[in-house]
């Protein structure tokens, strides 16, 4: 039957929660925490989720209030739907300012030591950063897991693509991915033979749950001139092709998917609502996918969270900041989490307390997980906690096409170029994926709002003339976004400093960051490629990188304005031992046996894939491990209890 609209029960107060010993305590209600909570609760175990931000209202009206906040916001940044919250602050890109030499940038929530100042952001609300994500869900490539072996760069993962493959499928089902498997079958390297392989990335004629989002007219226009472009890169011959991206938004169910869904056609998951809403089962092609989809056709973690809450075994405490992970020094096990609960975002008043569980999972994101661990003063055998911080640097290139291409129609991005994601060149320079943006120059210049202001204020147009001018300006816009690979370096890190605290006294994250040359080499190549592509398209290049831009990076005599990718990763990387990593491939802490640090923070490399899908896949793997642990604990308790009874009786 249709989506479940039964009542979502989760209300619990802090004093009740504090008296319980939960099977699992999870910090963070984003996609990682929600997947773990749902998987664990389905097995009959009790779960408590603490969430720093507000957002317990899982009704359609509650969501529409967020939409309205976004619509009326002057600055449409990623966190525009969410009220400013000094008790659990979040990075806001419009607040980012250029670094001054020797002075950390402390205006924003994240203290930035530089030299590179990032405008990357994440959301501290129920649902986490999926409450502003774009929902692109490409898998990582097999070679991405073997960067050290194949290219002598970065790190190898302690797990291979093939081993992660079944979990990718679980993640694609959970998120509800619309995509076309064939479009993702570009040439990639086989990690064993080190040669280009024709083997499918997707075994057994796999298909995605739903058909691909229809490519936009803009995609087709670009494809017409770009498909077939050849280039040679470090000895590899490449032929470019515009390909559709898989994405976590509802499309038309693919009947072939039955095979991977117990014989059933995939049922798109509609808007989260406590009343029947019948909305969001299909993407309607609204162009403002980020930060939030007007109809909730885009997946966000509240969809998984609502399922978890409906099991009746999950409690959620929003507006509750985990302030310390407490460890018993005798056995090295986590015993509890200290929290601060604020009642009102406008007041600095809070109450603190302690939450107990058998297993603890930090799912607060790469920056917040590291921040919490470091603020808790816990030892790290590898000394890698907070280190190897990564994020995809983005280079934006924008131009005006010779003809009307209907820009600003369709979802934010439906297609792009993936051919430079793989190849032997990766021993020298970063790989990248290129997005064709259906929202025109929005990311680079603030279009269409900036166009509108310009036409009204500077061109004095109104009425029909205004409409015509606006359409003619924006509907030829082309923006190519180069999402460039970044490798782990220990000097790129998150740390804490007692000098920098938020309103509730929690230490803020301090970011030390530079864009490695390896990535900049990719950026420079991307810029040159963009010029070639613009030439083929007959597009006028309008890209300007202002030296005063906070993200301005000079490399080999040229300057580029780099944007953050909101793909924060790598602060508690996984590896093969407690000396080379923070967690194992199941995301279990090497140092604290009943602690899991989950999310993109565990990724040793991030390749050229948006991180969410891979992190979701890793979470399904971790869920199996946590459930195994819990079953062991439970069976021990069962054996132990008769003895206890005989003593007490």
């Amino acid at each position: 039957m249709s989506n479940d609209h039964s009542k979502i029960t989760y209300t619990i107060d802090h004093s009740t929660a504090s008296q319980k010993v939960y099977d699992v305590v999870i910090v963070g209600s984003g996609i990682s925490g929600s997947i773990l909570a749902n998987e664990i609760a389905k097995e009959g175990f009790s779960v408590l989720i603490v969430e720093a931000g507000p957002g317990k209202d899982l009704s359609l009206t509650g969501y529409e209030k967020l939409l309205n906040t976004f619509y009326t916001a002057v600055t449409k940044d990623n966190n525009a739907p969410y009220k400013s919250n000094p008790n659990a602050p979040m990075p806001r890109s419009p607040k980012v300012q250029k670094a001054r030499l020797g002075h950390p940038n402390t205006d924003n929530y994240m203290v930035q030591n530089g030299p590179f100042v990032t405008d990357t952001s994440y959301s501290r609300v129920v649902g986490g950063t999926t409450m502003h994500w774009e929902a692109k869900t490409p898998r990582m490539l097999p070679e991405d897991f073997k960067m050290r072996t194949l290219f002598d760069k970065g790190l190898d993962w302690p797990i291979t693509y093939r081993e992660l493959q079944p979990y990718y499928r679980m993640a694609e089902k959970e998120i509800g991915v619309s995509g076309n498997v064939e479009s993702q079958e570009f040439k990639h390297l086989d990690p064993i033979t080190k040669e280009f392989s024709e083997t499918s990335l997707y075994a057994d004629n796999y298909v995605y749950p739903m058909h691909q989002m229809p490519p936009s007219y803009l995609d087709k226009c670009v494809a017409k001139d770009i498909n077939g472009t050849t280039l040679e890169l470090d000895g590899d011959k490449k032929e470019l092709k515009v390909r559709s991206f898989p994405q976590g938004r509802n499309g038309i169910p693919n009947v072939e998917y039955r095979k991977y869904n117990n014989g059933e056609v995939y049922r798109p998951v509609a808007a989260v609502s406590s009343h029947q809403a019948e909305i969001g089962e299909r993407c309607q092609g609204n162009n403002n996918c980020t930060p939030i989809c007007p109809v909730q056709a885009k997946y966000d973690a509240r969809k998984t969270l609502a399922k978890a809450l409906r099991t009746g075994r999950v409690d959620l405490l929003p507006q509750t900041i985990a302030s310390k992970v407490v460890v018993n020094p005798e056995n090295g096990r986590v015993t509890s989490i200290e929290y601060k609960n604020y009642k009102d975002v406008n007041s600095s008043e809070y109450e603190s307390g302690v939450l107990k569980g058998k297993i603890f999972i930090l799912a607060a994101n790469a920056i917040e997980n590291a921040r919490l661990m470091l603020a808790s003063g816990l030892k790290s055998t590898s000394n890698l906690m907070g280190k190897n911080f990564m994020d995809h640097p983005y280079l934006l290139c924008w131009g005006l096409l010779p003809e009307n291409t209907g820009t600003f129609r369709g979802t934010i991005c439906t297609s792009g170029i993936s051919d430079i994601r793989s190849g032997h060149f990766r021993r020298k320079q970063a790989a990248f994926a290129v997005d064709i943006h259906n929202d025109g120059w929005g990311w680079a210049t603030g279009s269409p709002y900036t166009n509108l202001l310009d036409i009204v204020d500077n061109k004095n147009k109104y009425g029909t003339a205004l409409r015509k001018e606006l359409v003619s300006q924006v509907s030829r816009q082309l923006l190519l976004a180069f999402m460039v690979e970044m490798l782990p370096e220990t000097s790129n890190k998150i740390s804490v400093n007692p000098q920098y605290r938020d309103r509730l006294g929690n230490m803020r994250p301090v970011v030390s960051f530079h864009v490695p040359d390896y990535s900049m080499e990719g950026v420079a190549y991307g810029r040159e490629l963009s010029k070639q592509l613009f030439q083929r398209l007959g597009a006028e290049d309008y890209s300007i990188y202002d030296p005063l831009d906070y993200g301005y990076v000079n490399y080999n005599g040229s300057g580029y304005a780099i944007r953050g990718g909101n793909h924060i990763a790598g602060t508690h990387i996984m590896g093969t031992s407690e000396r080379n990593s923070v967690v194992n491939f199941k995301q279990r802490s090497w140092d604290y046996d009943n602690l899991f640090l989950i999310g993109a923070g565990s990724m040793p490399t991030i390749g050229t894939s948006n991180t969410t899908l891979t992190m979701a896949a890793m979470c399904f793997l971790s869920a199996e491990e946590v459930i195994k642990d819990l079953k062991k604990i439970t069976s021990k308790t069962e054996i132990a209890s008769p003895i206890y009874n005989s003593i007490s009786g």
Binding site: M1, S2, N3, H5, S6, K7, S59, L60, T61, E64, N68, I252, P253, V255, V265, A270, S274, H275, Q276, A277, E278, I279, E281, R282, Q284, G285
Partner: protein
């Protein structure tokens, strides 16, 4: 339209045409009431009605599937398919009008009348439940029925009407043999692949079982199941959804009729554009922008129906793009509803849905 006892397939074609017409006829009043709410007001009420509209579209599609299954051909482009508003529902002596009008308590009362639950069935046999009354109006949503004795009767509720169709389907299936009776081309069925959005599962109809399942879903979504406020799928029926707006409170599972115990549903009856009730083309001064906007709307609406009709007649893949056009229709309706009628103080325009008075813009 006057129907007779169901004796052959042709009779059922007429009934199912009437069913499709009936399902469609609720849509203009419902969407107009939604569109008269001022921007960012009454979001909850808007969503309550929106779900009902989505389900009416499902019902329309299900009725088309049943008609296609027995070899008929849906026709949404026939003259007179869209009723002339005001139109009437048969409810005995107290005959009342269904209007295109602004969102108001009175409008919700009318919607409650449209969706009112069937009276109790006796032995599951419906015909003897018909209310016999004299009303000669040609403008009614529910068709009249001429009994074997030549007496003109009326269906009390939409549910009764469908129960009658269900009986007819069963009777003819037995008489003609199921395989012979359900001889329609299965390729003409709208299947889940083509059906946009929720409101329950679309049921492809290929035999008596699936036909009766489709009929059951339509009746229960409208009026509940055997007097319960929730249907078999656990969804609140339309009558009680509207009642939530009237009572200002949501129903919860387990609640009894008239006694919702859920969250409060806040309504701002004043945040509404006061439109001309049952507007006609003549209400807009010729060559005024409103007149043009209304012609544009009606033309587009006519074409929209033609596209749906095309999808129901062998091109199911065309349903998805057709439904997408509802966004355009909504914006066109706003152009009318957000603008006052020249010379009429405080009275706003609205689409007239007079599709028979405009030409089609394009052939499908």
């Amino acid at each position: 339209m006057t129907l007779r006892e169901i004796n052959d397939v042709e009779d059922l074609y007429e009934y199912l045409y009437a069913a499709i017409q009936l399902e469609h006829a609720t849509i203009p009043p419902y969407i107009t009431s939604m569109y008269t709410m001022k921007p960012n007001s009454n979001l909850e009420a808007y969503n309550v009605i929106r779900v009902i509209v989505v389900e009416e579209m499902l019902h329309l599609t299900l009725a088309a599937n049943v008609l296609n299954a027995i070899g008929g051909a849906p026709n949404l482009i026939k003259e007179g398919f869209v009723p002339e508003f005001p139109t009437y529902l048969p409810n005995g002596e107290e005959d009342f009008e269904v209007n295109i009008e602004s969102f108001s308590p009175k409008t919700i009362d009318n919607f409650l009348m449209i969706e009112r639950p069937a009276r109790e069935y006796q032995d599951g046999h419906v015909p003897k439940q018909f209310t016999s009354f004299k009303n000669t109006s040609r403008k009614r949503i529910l068709p009249t029925y001429i009994s074997a004795e030549g007496e003109e009767k009326h269906f009390y509720s939409i549910g009764e009407f469908y129960a009658f169709i269900g009986e007819g389907l069963t009777k003819l299936s037995l008489k003609l043999g199921e395989e012979e009776f359900f001889k329609g081309d299965p390729e003409r069925q709208i299947t889940p692949e083509y059906y946009y959005s929720g409101g329950g599962e679309i049921i492809p109809v290929t035999n008596l079982e699936s036909a009766l399942e489709a009929i059951r879903l339509i009746s229960e979504q409208g009026e509940g199941f055997e007097g319960a406020i929730y249907d078999n799928e656990g969804e609140l029926s339309h009558y009680y959804r509207f009642e939530q707006i009237k009572l200002g409170r949501y129903y919860l599972a387990g609640d009894t009729a008239g006694n919702p115990k859920g969250k409060e549903l806040t309504i701002d009856w004043d945040a509404v554009y006061n439109i001309k009730t049952n507007p006609k083309m003549e209400d807009y001064p010729e060559e005024s922008e409103l007149y043009e906007a209304n012609v544009k709307f009606n033309t587009y609406y006519k074409n929209f129906l033609a596209k749906i009709n095309d999808a129901f007649n062998g091109n199911p893949q065309n349903l998805i793009p057709a439904i997408g056009e509802m966004f355009v229709l909504k914006n066109m309706a706003y152009e009318l509803i957000h603008n006052p009628i020249p010379g009429k103080e405080g009275v706003y325009g609205a689409p007239t849905f007079e599709v028979d008075k405009v030409p089609e813009i394009s052939k499908v």
